[in-house]
Amino acid sequence: MNMSEPKEHPVAKAVRETAGVVLAECYQCGKCTAGCPMARYMDLSPNQVMRLAQAGDAAALERLLGSEALWYCAGCLTCAQRCPRQLDPAAVMDVLREMAHRQGKIPAAARKILAFHKAFLATVEWGGRMAEIPLVMRYKMNSLDLFSDALLGPAMLAKRKLPLLPHRIRGRGEVRRIFEKCRKGTRP
């Protein structure tokens, strides 16, 4: 009666430990893809992401970690809500995205998204809270996406939606330490 653990490749292990998802449990019904609002923009459909993660071989990882799909997850929770195997494909994507990011594998189409995330976090690290003006400025510098929404900034100012002086919290030092420790890679 020895309950031996099923064989697991590194990706499956990481996914199980971080996302709590046992990849072998996915039977490829595609309900995640069917319900995903972003699927139509993805180069790999969510069920394909799950399939390649199941395979986990070098070639699969190459396609997986280089895919735009990982970056297009809107975090809407629909896939997890409806998965008949009670799995969480979005959480799997989170793990893979983090891998891709750490390995610096960023598809061109995802650069803007990454730039936005980074700009967002940068402002939080700087002041403890997100601040729109610095965020937008940083984002546009990083993404070189200078002209889109050019009019919205002024419009938002006109609507008094942008505080000109971003608020910095007292505990920002604390927050910065949190960021540094996380960069050093304390895994939850």
């Binding site: 984002y139 008094r160 939606k161 996380c182 939850p188």
Partner: protein, 287 residues
Amino acid sequence: MKTLGYYPGCSLSGGGIELDLSVRALAKTAGVDLREIEDWNCCGASAAHSLDHSLAVALPFRVLALAESQGLAEVLAPCAACFSRLKGTQVRLARNPELNRRMAELVERPYQGGVRILNINEFIAALLKDGLAEKLTRKLGLKAVAYYGCLLSRGEDIVTGDDAEDPQGMEAALRAAGCEVLSWNASNECCGGGFSMSKTGSVLDLSQAILDEARAAGADLVVTGCPMCHSNLDMRQLELVKRRRVPGALPILYLSELLGLAAGLEPGALGLDRHFIESRQLVRGGA
């Protein structure tokens, strides 16, 4: 006077400021004192959990720890995203004491798992129960659709006491405000959330689909509780109108704004003047 912890979250001092204004105004009317968590920080939003698991837990952890140490038993997080992050973190920590231990170490603050996080629907339902209902004198008589989006409808153990596939949490409030609540198909569809800037195209597609469903249902306005949904449906609607992808402008109000109007508060005081899509015509006495 009843006091309630308050976590506005970053966007409520910016793009989502109307939500902050209307929630505060409504709380005042209902005689609830909102006590803001001192020195709160950003919950990390989708950016943190997109890039760094630890950070995605650590940032909300600090907020929870602060609230607990400041003796706040209940905390309102009007922003659906903040609510989902904070309560989602709570759920994870409760399931995994080891994670809680490591986080306390990383954040250098203790957290015992206390503090009840309320979303805007739960908050308003509570207000209505505690007598706000009687104060809703101005019958609006509007045809409204309730838009929950993702984070006010889904999330196991996060959005509790409601049906993820057919949420009803807002309906009662809308009726109390004298609205006719229409059933429609997009109440829990996604608007594209945080991609407003970085993947605007898809946000436009998704928002358009939602606005089309609302119009098809015959709604005068869309009511929401999420600043991301609001900016995608309100600010981004300008572009849809300009490109003639939608036949006309459809007002987008926060649930708290609608309740405020029903309570007879001034549109300006609730922030209606700050929307991109004009909505003040919805109430007589509005400009």
